[in-house]
């Protein structure tokens, strides 16, 4: 199922895409993130990965800003095709 290596979202560079695997967080926070669209297998586009600070992602068409600590807790697997059409799942 998880063909690619799993790494924290914070390692993904700007404009790159990744698939969410899981989030290492308590139930409350995980649920809040899930309600904002961060569920397993969702495709995340990193809009900007500024070192340090602003970590902006695009998930299901809306932009979400994360703290760096948060981005470390979100585990993702890289997408095979980085040029994949954003059309999928929309």
């Amino acid at each position: 199922m998880k063909q690619k290596e799993i790494q924290p979202l914070s390692k993904i560079g700007s404009r790159k895409k990744a698939k969410l695997v899981t989030i290492e967080a308590g139930r409350g926070l995980y649920n809040r993130l899930a309600s904002m669209g961060l569920v397993s297998d969702v495709e995340i586009t990193v809009v900007s990965n500024g070192h340090p600070g602003p970590f902006v992602i695009n998930v299901k068409g809306s932009k979400v800003m994360l703290g760096r600590g948060m981005a470390n807790k979100i585990l993702v697997s890289g997408c095979d095709d980085e040029k994949a059409n954003s059309g999928s799942g929309r």
């Binding site: 899930a34 309600s35 600070g53 068409g61 809306s62 703290g67």
Partner: protein
């Protein structure tokens, strides 16, 4: 006339408030939901034979029990049973927005889906097959462009149609997959047997879903031990299959259902590209440019507020002056008639002194509404978060604190932008430490009286900085004691930039301005009369002002507290001024003037300064500044804290907490200072 209730639900930033404003205009009422600090807005609209009450529910992403807002929304729909639930959806982010709709459907709410901002969605290349989507979701859908006022009629007609139509049971339900469905069925069956009362209120399937999600509130309402046992074993069973909590798996399934529905009915003609919003973000959240840009915008806000506010403020001042003189003219010159004194010194002086700030406050709120509606505030919060996080607060807390430099009252109102209750309370508690405009009058008087000209600006700067440092210390202390708890990791949606509409800004401005005026007419009026009375009575036989003051209620009060404030370097005269200043900080100056019987402080400032210099040391002067910075906020602030926290407890805590804090710090400074000199 038939009465209907329609509740507006939707994600934050879905344009819900804009639509609410469009529907109800300025006929809005603001109240609090019972027992909580979240405000409830409602407004009535008459349409044909119907009187529709629109209720603006808090913006939420979901209906879990993890936040107060979500619980309120959920409980409102369950308990109040609105005739229609209008779900406002940002059409350009449809999938994420439909997540809330799914949960509303599961509650079996009579739903109307509103695809808002459909113009932006169109620009982004979305094409909707509304008919098909409506069939799949089993809910009527209308399209709107709320900020351009398009679709109001459609919405009203749809609301009435839904309310009048007999409710049909939903045919489809979200399929959570065999494993979960099996567990749900087991729980449902037991629920019907064991908890028939709850099942009547909530419906078995919804209850079963919430139990499997380990929803705190629903779990608490269950009394049957058998159900607990089943739920516990189901959760354990599902965890072993999915290696994830059932609630997370279920969230994923809901999104799966949405994707399925959207795949067939929504097409994207253009590829979603880097848009202009990203470009602006690259600048405003830039790690080097971001902070200075924010500080500049804050400065600009204040500069424009005071610059533009200056003119209407001086007109109002002149008007009140003229009013005072005119009324004085009704009595012979030099008259000491009590009614004249009450109207001119008490009412016009007190209430007028507050109303003159109204234009400034309106302009400030207009600016803030602009920054908020345009989408910039979310970015500013992010920029400030790096700094604020270190002291345990959210980046957004910075905004009300900055407003606090103008006046604590609007600053406390502005804490409404903070979603987290704990952050909000901490912020409210420390706002009075931000030196407000009224305290500036005290600082000016003292600095000019006791310090050489070269030192004056530095003393002012110092006192402002001390305020900020004390605020930081207080926040830390509060976060470590009363408001313990992990600071919440920063997650926030970045709304797309939008050009705010004049209508929505003016509604914001009006609501806040009206609140301020109402306060001036009630609380300030009452307090002014009381203070006037305390200064004027009881009167000794014809004698001097000075004697008069010593004899008056406030004078006696000052004498009574003298032993307590002596160690701070204060005498009873300063005591009376400190008491007066709890009504409004500006009153410190006028009260000192009365105490030294120099009459109107405005025209005779020089002599007051000289008298102060003759009576007190610079150390006492500095201690006055310090004490005034920290101690009890004015009555208006206390009233606002009470209103916004919905509890006298917090208001009194703020009042006494700050006073004790002021006492300790001033005591230490004065005693050490006396030893050194």
């Amino acid at each position: 006339m038939k009465k209907l209730t329609a509740a507006l639900a939707g994600n934050p930033n879905s344009g819900k408030t804009t639509i609410f404003n469009l529907l109800t205009g300025s006929h809005q009422h603001v109240g609090n939901y019972p027992g909580v600090t979240v405000e409830q807005k409602y407004g009535v609209f008459r349409y044909g034979d119907y009187e529709i009450t629109f209720v603006d529910l808090p913006g939420t992403y979901s209906l879990s029990a993890f936040s107060e807002e979500e619980l309120i929304t959920r409980n409102y729909i369950i308990n109040e049973k609105p005739d229609v639930v209008v779900d406002i959806i940002d059409a350009s982010g449809i999938e994420r927005n439909l997540y809330l709709s799914m949960q509303l459907m599961e509650m079996d709410a009579p739903l109307l889906l509103v695809f808002n901002m459909s113009d932006i969605a169109e620009q982004r290349g979305f094409v909707f097959d509304i008919k098909q989507l409506s069939v799949l979701l089993e809910s009527p859908i209308i399209q709107m462009v709320g900020n351009k006022g398009q679709g109001k009629q459609l919405l009203l007609d749809a609301v009435i149609e839904i309310a009048e139509k007999p409710k049909e049971p939903r045919l489809h339900k979200i399929n959570y997959g065999d494993e979960i469905e099996q567990e749900l069925e087991k729980i449902e069956k037991t629920l019907i047997v064991e908890e028939s009362a709850l099942v009547q209120k909530y419906q078995a399937r919804w209850l079963a879903i919430k139990l499997l999600e380990q929803d705190d509130e629903i779990t608490k309402s269950i009394t049957s031990g058998r159900i607990f046992a089943i739920v516990t074993s189901s959760v354990a069973h599902l965890k072993s299959i999915f290696r994830e909590n059932p609630d997370i798996v279920m969230a994923g399934r809901r999104y799966g259902y949405i994707s399925g529905a959207c795949q067939e009915t929504i097409k994207t003609t253009a590829e979603l590209q880097h848009n202009y919003s990203d470009m602006i973000d690259a600048i405003v959240t830039h790690r080097i440019i971001g902070l200075p840009l924010f500080l500049f915008l804050m400065y600009l806000t204040f500069f424009l507020t005071f610059k533009l506010g200056h003119y209407p403020m001086s007109w109002l001042e002149h008007t009140f002056d003229w009013l005072g003189i005119t009324i004085t003219g009704f009595w012979p010159e030099g008259s000491t008639n009590w009614l004249k004194s009450l109207i001119v010194d008490g009412i016009i002086g007190g209430v007028g002194g507050v109303i003159v700030f109204l234009p400034t406050i309106l302009i400030l709120f207009m600016m803030i509404a602009f920054l908020e509606d345009s989408g910039y505030m979310a970015r500013a919060a992010f920029v400030m978060d790096r700094i604020m996080h270190k002291i345990g607060l959210h980046g957004k807390s910075f905004i009300p604190m900055v407003i606090g430099f103008g006046c604590s009252v609007p600053a406390i109102m502005a804490t409404r932008i903070l979603e987290n209750k704990r952050n909000r309370l901490v912020t409210i508690m420390v706002i009075p430490l931000m030196s407000c405009g009224a305290k500036l009058t005290i600082y000016t008087l003292i600095a000019q009286a006791f310090f050489p000209e070269k030192l004056q600006p530095w003393m002012m700067w110092l006192i402002y900085i001390i305020g900020i440092i004390l605020a930081v210390i207080s926040i830390k202390l509060l976060r470590l004691t009363i408001f313990k708890g992990k600071s919440i990791p920063f997650v926030m949606e970045l709304p797309p930039y939008r050009w705010p509409t004049f209508k929505s800004i003016s509604i914001h401005m009006w609501q806040r301005g009206w609140m301020y005026l109402r306060k001036a007419g009630t609380l300030i009026l009452g307090a002014s009369i009381i203070l006037w009375f305390a200064v004027s009575y009881p009167k000794p036989d014809a004698s001097s002002q000075k004697m008069n003051l010593e004899y008056s209620i406030i004078g006696r009060f000052g004498k009574a507290i003298e032993p307590a404030i002596k160690p701070l370097g204060f005498d009873w005269k300063i005591g009376t001024a400190l008491i007066g200043a709890t009504i409004a900080k500006e009153l410190f100056v006028s009260q000192m003037a009365i105490a030294y019987s120099v009459g109107d402080s405005k025209h005779d400032d020089m002599s007051l300064r000289e008298k102060l210099r003759a009576h007190y040391t610079p150390l006492t002067g500095f201690c006055i500044m310090l004490f005034c910075l920290i101690y009890a906020p004015c009555v208006a602030t206390i009233a606002m804290t009470k209103q916004e926290t919905n509890s006298w407890g917090w208001a009194l805590f703020q009042f006494f907490g700050l006073t004790i804090f002021a006492f300790i710090i001033t005591l230490v400074v004065f005693q050490i200072g006396s030893l050194l000199s």
